[in-house]
Symmetry: C2
Subunit: 381 residues, 2 copies
């Protein structure tokens, strides 16, 4: 299988390599410690003579940029840096314009590369900026959060948010290389690491029961670091790659990656994309809801939602509407947010439902009335 994990041949590493063999645009995902320190040498070898524009945020600039900058300097690689505010609000039209104009002002040419150094926000924004600058510049993902390493940095979805919903503006644009430096995870706030862990669990829930059980057994070790963490990240990247290869533009099976995301996006929207609910936290609640809703429709065993909820709670994640701090408004607001989600087609609601752990499927004809009454009940549990 093309997306299988290989041990990286490089002597320096307990590193993994996942190859993404998209025709004409194949690329590697390297996962391991000290990759930012090795970046200069890696880029000099893979992209000789190119110049680089780094896009990052204030927090990552403080924690990680010195390592990357020193590595590029040591390799004699020309680079400039654009630093943006940290947070979801950065995925906006005005920040997109700022990055694009910054890349043009730096006179980066079509053959030069953009480096996205940061979490999902930076990766999505910088990748989108690369996609539209000079009608398409190459770019490299250097994800520094667990969420970005296991999900958003792989597969080429880039974009920004709209007042009408998350990720409604963007492009499919594949990176030329992904460097997932595991050391960056050591400095993550625990809440953010847990949010990323929700996406890790998602891969088990979709179609890999064995991985899900392995996660339940190894959750503590993954949170503590070490080889289990590296293995978890690599297995997620390989899983994501399989979906991307099967369906790059999400016309079919790739939509399974949205398990928990229709509910999750709606919850993010009604909480204002604020720190009240991180993306992964919304997905955690959404995944439990997807299992509970599937059980209610008679599709899945009733005990799965409870089991998953225990697992995610133990990881420090919210799992119920009632876990969201503050007031979340009425059922109408949630239904309205769901209706504007981009997975709506011809008025019918599309959901990722499940027949049990590891058995998710796409259901295009979900009755809005059933969703509404389910949410009503959830609001009182």
């Amino acid at each position: 299988m093309a997306a299988d994990i290989e041990a990286d041949g490089d002597a320096s590493s307990s590193a993994h390599r996942v190859h993404v063999p998209l025709e004409g645009r194949s690329y590697d995902i390297l996962i391991g410690p000290r990759l930012l320190e090795r970046a200069g040498a890696l880029l000099a070898e893979r992209f000789p003579g190119r110049r680089f524009g780094i896009v990052t945020d204030t927090e990552v600039a403080r924690a990680q940029l010195p390592r990357l900058g020193a590595s590029l300097d040591a390799a004699g690689i020309a680079h400039g840096t654009i630093v943006l505010p940290n947070g979801e609000a950065t995925k906006s039209f005005s920040r997109l314009e700022e990055v694009v104009e910054g890349l043009l002002a730096a006179r980066l040419e079509r053959g030069d590369l953009v480096i996205a150094l940061g979490g999902g926000v930076i990766g999505d924004l910088a990748g989108f900026a690369a996609a539209i600058t000079r009608r398409g510049m190459d770019f490299i993902q250097m994800p520094t959060s667990l969420l970005a390493q296991v999900d958003s940095s792989v597969g080429g979805k880039t974009g920004i948010n709209s007042p009408h919903g998350k990720n409604l503006v963007g492009a499919f644009h594949q990176p030329r290389l992904v460097l997932a430096d595991l050391d960056t995870l050591d400095t993550l706030p625990p809440r953010e690491f847990a949010a990323g862990y929700a996406e890790v669990v998602k891969y088990g829930l979709i179609d890999d029961e064995a991985f899900y059980f392995w996660l339940e057994a190894n959750r503590r070790a993954i949170f503590e670091g070490g080889p289990e963490r590296a293995e978890a990240v690599a297995r997620c990247c390989a899983a994501k790659t399989r979906f991307v290869l099967a369906d790059e533009k999400e016309t079919g099976v790739r939509a399974l990656l949205n398990l928990g995301h229709t509910f999750g996006h709606a919850l993010e929207k009604i909480t204002g994309y604020s720190g009240r609910l991180l993306h992964g936290e919304g997905v955690a609640i959404g995944m439990v809801m997807a299992h509970a809703f599937s059980a209610r429709l008679g599709l899945a065993p009733g005990q799965d939602a409870e089991r998953i909820s225990r697992h995610l709670s133990a990881a420090g994640l919210p799992t119920r509407l009632g876990d969201i701090p503050g007031e979340i408004g009425g059922t109408d607001a949630i239904m309205d947010a769901i209706a504007q989600d981009k997975k709506v087609s011809r008025g019918a609601l599309t959901f990722i439902l499940t027949r049990g752990i590891g058995q998710a499927f796409i259901e295009k004809g979900v009755d809005p009335g059933a969703v509404r009454s389910f949410i009503e009940d959830q609001r009182h549990t």
Copy 2:
């Protein structure tokens, strides 16, 4: 040859059809009278059940929108309209955001379509908005200027301008259909028609000497309307299509379409993208300069530039730097604008040069010093 012109089978027309057989994204260009009146029936047949968002400008809305709206209404097709200011300044980030948010506010879904009704500005902007809304909506070009009918509506280049230069932000996004209604050209201001004619002449100059001579012989008839005009538009669409099929993303031969554009873009930039110099007018001067510069380098016959200049002048176009109204600044400003053009690679200047009429070629290693001294001389002719 796939891009040959066919007579349209439809009874109503002296219409032409050019098929663009891009793999998986093939589309038709229909050229003829009364296509806006026929649009409702055509869209109902080709895109049953879809909804449409029309993007246009104030002037086109007045002159053409009533015809299109009535046709869609008669066919029972749901549609909304976004009207923007007329002019090049509309190709901006803020207008892009306005269109994207307008499409989302109208709750157009991924399967719905954007209609670009207007000239090159509207086609480029609306096509780009379609490319990035929901990571890619389908769109239809309904070009209403000669420039848009023979050039910008075909081939999938979409985008906006940057303070750093024209079309520096954008995407490759192919339309699903192009409807070039020849009746729209009857209401064009003469200066705008002439500007579009510069792009018509370009196809002859690039690689079709016979077409160039045919244009010299039929220029008056083309400006007056009638079958020669229809034939000229159709031959240009077929020529453009051949280049697009050979090299969709402009990594090679498609760059020939930039004949006259490196000089032309620089002149547009230093005149502020204002009404002082229309795009086609910049291209007219640029094509004459490309021939004169090629002659100076000993590549092309000396008399071609003069012959082309007479042809374009007779069509009402400027052909010399001195024809630009007002002050254009020094040679440094022109050189700086050329250097920021996106056809720069690794510091060397890329130009489309020529060995004579119909014999253009791409030259990547042009000496900036030679360009500078040529421009110095041109400023005094």
